[in-house]
Amino acid sequence: MLDYRAFALRTLSRVGPRYLPFADVATAEVPLGRLLRLSLFQVTVGMALVLLVGTLNRVMIVELAVPASLVAGMLALPLVFAPFRTLIGYKSDTHVSALGLRRVPYIWKGTMYQFGGFAIMPFALLVLSGYGEAVDAPRWIGLVSAALAFLLVGAGVHMVQTVGLALATDLVDEEDQPKVVGLMYVMLLFGMVGSALLFGTLLENYTPGRLIRVIQGAAVATVALNLFALWKQEARDRVRAQAMLTARAPAFGAALEQLMRGPGTIRLLVVIGLGTFGFGMADVLLEPYGGQALGFTVAQTTKLTALFAGGTLAGFGIASRVLGRGAPPLPLGRLGAAIGIPGFLAIVLSSGLGQPGLFLAGTFATGLGAGLFGHATLTATMRAAPAGQIGLALGSWGAVQATCAGIGMALAGIVRDGLVAMPALSGYGAAAPYNVVFMTEAAFLVLAIAVAVPLGRFAGHKDAAGHRDLAGRDNRKNPVEVA
């Protein structure tokens, strides 16, 4: 027995740590490969977004014949959860764990909810649409289960993205943060574009069985990718675990108030909200605008989305490079919004002048602006995050960003559906209502820039003084220093 025990201990100690999901030590230098792996959680977030906003939207209305107003209501449910991102971030900041973990438990929980939502979603949708014997079932079963499925996916996405970004901020030094932000955004875009194409092809010949397979396949892919992303990212830390036991965390309200008192925090959040809303509507409306106002064919309008995404990618690339060299993020964010304004103007003018080239240039410029703006503002949030409140800071970024992007996309969808349904609405031609929307977006960007102007002062002051830098670096070594 004793021999066996000694042998088992020796063997375990040799091979054990390699097969544990936690890292043994926190490494000072995080290699790019590991960050690339971590950013995979954004692929699942993108996949969930596309499935909810794009694919299921169409499937529910076209194939399942669910009333459009009900579909809109269901898809809005995850949005309701967006403000809770601050709470999730706060919880992960103050989490008490014997293993010294703060982020991984929440990402795993979020992954489970996301998986659970996708696992019951196809059946819930089939019951909702009265498939098979479900015609005779009480109406509330379908409604409640579909609502539950959407809520679970929404809650899971909010948890995974908020805490995942907080973990990424934990892991890297300030000078590497732009690189990580770029990686996160590219992965999100990749997840959205890739899964949109994939789901579109898979559901082209719709059958109920196929719907079940596709959505549950997405569920399995979510768990697999997130597990792979999480593996060995956060260190098991007994010292930190001891500190967690004795640390007294401030209440949520007090912590939030403390964060909001930071110089320029609220202003930055307002800028993010306005800019995200302004750029958020463009994506959905470009295709129908190209088709109706400029007479593009379907194949050509699909390429518009690719052009927009290409512009966004270019924006991410430029922002990563420029900010990685140590440039302050806020002027770059303003520049992004400023590029968006002539972009929208070019789009508006193109229909009046009949210039498709101008429209293409405007589309690319808008995408470029959106990429620069998104990257720069997230980098600014990460840099400004106080060491003990990284989760909370990224939670408030996510709450504002997700709410505004969601409302923007939903509004654009409503506008688009209304316009496609009755193109002869006005006597000014098909382009006029779109142009009103594009001008509104440009106006929101002007507002964002106007609000952002005083922000440079705070950032400049902080860079010049440099004390945040010092505090941030010291605190990161010992992250449980809750005041």
Partner: protein
């Protein structure tokens, strides 16, 4: 490696750590169990396999 009354054999985790790892297992089982139950009920509503 040495015998420590506070540590759980054979992993070398302390009791609290071991309980936390175990709690993840329990939570996961509960959540996945509940999801499976709901999914089965929904399938039974649309395509009953009993009765």
């Amino acid at each position: 490696m040495t015998d420590d009354p506070d540590k759980v054999w054979p992993t070398g985790l302390t009791l609290r750590e071991a309980e936390e790892v175990h709690s993840y297992l329990i939570d996961g089982t509960r959540v996945f169990g509940a999801i499976a139950a709901i999914a089965h009920i929904l399938v039974a509503v649309s395509t009953p396999w009993l009765g």
